[in-house]
Symmetry: C2
Subunit: 413 residues, 2 copies
């Protein structure tokens, strides 16, 4: 089955706003075997909205319209959809009741404009929205299903899952689906694709999606069969073969990031993480503190951007910096060991350091821009790796922090 | 004038990839008075691509197609555009020459597939791409201009600015435009809109766009007149009135962030920045180290996530933590002062601290989730502010770091 998504709103045609609802919807639809084949963004213009809905319904069974359900005169998705379907609208007192109740809770009264939200396309089902004033609408006929959903993600998401998905379940479909996700690091997208292509191509009952960020790849394997159990067995069999092929590069069998996996391992091992960062400027600590509850494993980070901070704060020896410079194996080693020791020492803490030239300036012939040293100090021998990245400043910093997290994961696992 | 943007690529129809080229293009087009009225994303399908181009050209004078110019058989933008225009394609040996040269530089040879990139739609101009193998194409006739640009942003952007914009300059337009940008912090979007709405509504020759991120607002004021000089005078007059109305909330009269403005002020004052972060986990340091050359003003940051790190690394007194807790004015003050002193002391360094409950856990009755204390220690009295944010963990961390940067900016200015 195929779907199209139409995002309505002139603000989505400005330079700073991007339609992210469609990413969520694409992911939810993919789980049930529905591919999104086209996405459109149009402004608040009834004629244009009607035209887009008509075109989309001519070509796909599922059409989802997001936004344009608010109370103002700019909000024209209801009117546009009615025009596209050639249907009238009627006033629904029940909806106005919900809206009045909602306003009452905040001690306010709905404005005259809110009444616009109580209009319903003839023949459409009303989807009650517990998180806002705009109800959704669901219309279905021989050409397929048309959904109108509010634009704010915190209204759209629960409404889609609780009201639309059960209705989509009732659309005739010969198959059941199950999606298994896994995450990969330390390999480029084309490497991964080359190595696992033969696996997923050989299993026609599974569809595989590769999504890549710098240093991190998400793999979604969607099995398709008559029952969910069979679909699950198919997806997991492909995941097993992929894991055999890629080995340790597969870092988790679900859709969570390296930060989460490393955090879990630290808790398991009863170790605290103590960092010493130079060129990443705090990015590694920022990543390791994103998850709620990270105080269970993150002790802290010395962001020693200046050489004097490396000496005064961390205790890196001045002669190390003079002899080898700050971008060196020796400096990375001292940084990692000092960080570990400042958080309880071996057995209690693990120290990780990053020093390098993120660019664009600062490289030398021997250590060009993009050279990064990462140190890892635990209760064994301190390990240092040197990497050469070729991206811009932001990408080099991102790759350095991801590489450090992966090194830590492998050491702890 | 109106434009439409068509992004080509099946990967843009997956849950993790979003078309960001259109944001850049929208911004560039807005500067010259061109509004984007519709954006479409379609997969790699020649018939669909042709249909989209035809529809877009029927309705808008400028149509920009991004992506689908690569060497693989999936890359079908050239073929789709030729079909839409009802034109043939021809082989252009000059392009193959460029491609061969490019490969030679990396000691490689183009594949057979790369020859596909040397095909040109009859009547189209070739836009040489110094950053990739795919040249752009520019086709123009009575219905308007059609541009085909490569998908990677680092290829698309320079190609658009150097090759497409001069050609757009030659399209007949009765007006000249000038855009003045400014940035605002410490006010919400609706506050800003309410206060400056009367100003920009009174000047019909200027169009104002408000783009907001948490704690930071970009304002683009586009003047329109017969000459660029007049357009500039109009835009700057509106900017002047906006600045008078919002006062110190306007932090810079160009489109750069707080990090850049604070960095410039630190260089001017000859001061180094030394940080002590708790709940932001390194985010403030990460932001202050994003710009190349930030080693000129960033000394470092103590990311003291754990209480023991606050004591052992920074020298916060244990009794302060016991008496007032880590989320307190007293703790923020000690953190800021210790950070300053660890980087040379008053007159040489300024210390900034952040401590708080980012959430979702950790609050108390007196200091609920979202409470953040920010300290600023220079050579005067240490200043502490308390803020109560109501967002999720990520937003609270972001707002805390932005508020700290703004406090620092005001103190240094």
């Amino acid at each position: 089955m195929e779907a199209q998504i139409i995002a309505i709103g002139s603000e989505l045609l400005t330079p700073a706003r991007v339609d992210t609802n469609s990413l969520y919807l694409t992911e939810r639809l993919a789980r049930r075997g529905v591919d999104v084949v086209r996405k459109v963004v149009v402004g608040d213009d009834q004629r244009r909205i009607a035209r887009e809905i008509r075109t989309a319904r001519d070509n796909s069974q599922i059409v989802i319209v997001t936004g344009g359900l608010g109370p103002t005169l700019d909000d024209l998705s209801r009117e546009g959809a009615a025009e596209a379907l050639g249907r009238e609208m009627h006033f629904e007192p029940q909806i106005l009741g919900w809206i009045e109740e909602r306003f009452q809770r905040y001690g306010r009264k709905p404005s005259e404009n809110n009444k616009r939200q109580a209009y319903v396309i003839d023949g459409a089902e009303i989807l009650e929205n517990p998180n806002g004033t705009a109800p959704g609408l669901y219309y279905s006929d021989d050409s397929g299903a048309l959904m109108l959903l509010p634009g704010p993600p915190r209204e759209l998401k629960p409404l889609f899952e609780s009201e639309c998905e059960p209705r989509l379940d009732r659309l005739p479909s010969p198959y059941s689906y199950y999606t298994h996700s896994l995450r990969i690091t330390g390999l480029g997208e084309s490497d991964v694709d080359q190595r696992i292509g033969p696996i997923y191509e050989a299993e026609k009952r599974a569809a595989t999606t590769i999504l890549s960020k710098p240093g991190d790849i998400q793999l979604h394997i969607r099995g398709r069969a008559e029952t969910v159990e069979e679909a699950r067995a198919i997806a997991e069999a492909v995941a097993g073969q992929v894991t055999d092929e890629l080995g340790e590069h597969v870092y988790v069998q679900e859709d969570v990031g390296l930060e989460t996996v490393v955090g879990r391992l630290l808790i398991e091992r009863g170790l605290r993480l103590s960092l010493a960062e130079s060129c990443t400027g705090g990015l590694l600590a920022e990543r390791m503190s994103r998850e709620p509850g990270s105080s269970k494993y993150l002790f802290g980070s010395f962001v020693t951007y200046d050489e004097e901070a490396k000496i005064a704060w961390l205790g890196v020896r001045r002669e190390t910096l003079e002899k080898y410079s700050a971008v060196s194996e020796a400096c990375a080693q001292e940084m990692a060991e000092r960080a570990r020791d400042a958080a309880g020492g071996p057995g209690k803490a693990v120290g990780v350091s990053i020093t390098g030239f993120a660019g664009p300036g600062g490289g030398t012939d021997e250590t060009p821009v993009g050279t990064i040293f990462i140190g890892l100090a635990d209760d064994g021998e301190t390990r240092i790796v040197r990497r050469q990245f070729g991206g811009d400043r932001g990408r080099n910093r991102s790759m350095a922090s991801t590489t450090a997290l992966d090194m830590l994961r492998r050491r702890l696992a």
